[in-house]
């Protein structure tokens, strides 16, 4: 088992307000790390920092043995699905995947229809993305993050807008990624997803990262019957 991601003492402030404080995290191949936290606790900032879109004030980030720096801006061999960073609206789902593959300089695109199938979309659907429902848009974002078969996948609230079937597909996708040895880091507000479908759980509170003891099926919300997602 090798280390895919290493965050060491990451801190970030926005307008003098600390968003991330001394965050350290290590992820190994096949890990599925679920990050929970209240709105505004810094989850998305943490994901953007791992990817390289946000520069930390201090600390070191090493992704797949490459430290992110002024020379190496972004994480390599990484797929991501973040809010407000989606597919091009005037193209179909398949065309978006093809564009993504072109950006990544991939020559073999035969797996793209299958990838769409995995997230519950069809390659023959020529509807432009601007006419997609929120759920279809989210599914396409997930597919786009997997175009180049990345070793590290970063998803920001992947369950957003997904229906029951979509959630099941997401769970199957997570299991498949873990099986393939892909490291997945996701944020979520879905207790079931965090309780049953991740291998490690961390909680962000006021910019600090706390490792939670993980016992699948043992989430307190589930025990007290407060989960209403399904």
């Amino acid at each position: 088992m090798t280390t895919t991601l290493s965050l060491t003492h990451i801190s970030k402030k926005y307008h003098r307000k600390p968003v991330l404080t001394d965050v350290s995290l290590q992820a190994n191949t096949g890990d599925i790390i679920g990050i929970s936290g209240t709105n505004g606790s810094g989850k998305t900032t943490l994901l953007k920092t791992i990817l390289g879109f946000t520069i930390p004030d201090s600390g070191q980030i090493i992704v797949l043995n490459h430290p992110l720096s002024a020379r190496q801006h972004f994480a390599t061999n990484t797929g991501f699905a973040l809010k407000d960073c989606g597919p091009l609206p005037n193209y179909s789902g398949l065309a978006n995947l093809q564009l993504m593959a072109q950006l990544l300089k991939m020559t073999d695109m035969t797996h793209l229809p299958e990838l769409l199938d995995l997230v519950g979309l069809t390659a023959t659907n020529t509807t432009k993305v601007k006419h997609y429902s929120l759920g279809m848009y989210q599914r396409l974002c997930l597919a786009m993050s997997l175009v180049n078969d990345p070793q590290l996948v970063i998803w920001d609230e992947p369950e957003n807008a997904l229906d029951e079937a979509g959630l099941r597909q997401l769970q199957a996708l997570l299991a498949r990624l873990a099986e393939m040895g892909t490291t997945t880091i996701l944020t979520s507000h879905n207790p079931t997803l965090l309780a049953h479908h991740v291998t490690r759980r961390v909680h962000l509170e006021a910019g600090r990262l706390l490792e939670l003891p993980h016992s699948p099926g043992g989430h307190p919300w589930l025990r007290f019957g407060k989960c209403s997602y399904y």
Partner: protein, 229 residues
């Protein structure tokens, strides 16, 4: 590539806007009211006079350039612009393609003027030199504007560049010195015509300014990801 699909789609519109604006300025000044000036004098007389007034040609160029600049899509940024030098190339390619658009628009207007007015062959060398120095000055100006838009946002860049131009004018009026492109440079080239030393000074100054901006832009891109989503 300097000319890509995105540039080809937008270039005709920008060309048209710039050409119409320049022709409107020339028309409002009067096309050969005395009957003694040729196409070169009409073209450069209007363009330089309007450049010295900050409220006409400079705001048009500032606005069109800031609209022309495109920030990269996050996926493009993540997969292609992975080093500061690649980001720098991405932005300077846009700057150069904008210069190309300006050049085409103004060539169209000059072509139109040659149909309306005579061209004095004696003015041609001076006209060609002015074209070169003006384009170099424009590149320096756009480099400063690019730097400001990268460090701040576009609205702030437009406000700051206007402030800098007035500061530059004040410096020129009170101390006969100019940092930005046109006061000390083109004005000193104009009265002396094809004086090689003046032209070289102008070229040297602009090149140095472009070089400084290039370096500062590189530093900016090294320490910023220039994306907010």
């Amino acid at each position: 590539m300097l000319v890509n699909r995105n540039v080809l789609l937008r270039a005709p519109l920008y060309c048209l806007v710039l050409a119409v604006c320049l022709f409107a300025l020339i028309y409002s000044t009067g096309i050969n009211p005395t009957g003694q000036i040729d196409a070169w004098q009409t073209f450069w007389g209007t363009l330089l006079a309007e450049t010295y007034n900050f409220y006409k040609i400079i705001p048009i160029l500032t606005l069109t350039f800031l609209l022309w600049l495109k920030t990269p899509h996050p996926y493009y940024l993540f997969t292609r612009l992975i080093t500061p030098s690649r980001s720098l190339t991405y932005y300077y390619r846009q700057l150069l393609s904008f210069m190309l658009v300006v050049l085409i628009a103004w060539s169209l207007i000059f072509g139109l003027l040659t149909h309306l007015l005579a061209v004095n062959p004696q003015n041609t060398p001076f006209g060609v030199i002015l074209t070169g120095t003006y384009l170099l000055n424009l590149t320096a100006f756009l480099s400063v504007l690019l730097l400001l838009s990268l460090r701040f946002n576009r609205v702030s860049a437009a406000i700051i560049i206007t402030g800098l131009l007035y500061l530059d004018q004040w410096l020129y009026m009170h101390f006969n010195q100019s940092i930005l492109f046109y006061h000390g440079l083109i004005t000193s080239t104009l009265p002396r015509g094809t004086n090689l030393a003046t032209v070289l000074y102008d070229v040297g100054w602009c090149t140095a300014l472009i070089g400084v901006c290039l370096f500062l832009n590189f530093l900016t891109l090294r320490h910023s990801r220039l994306i907010n989503f």
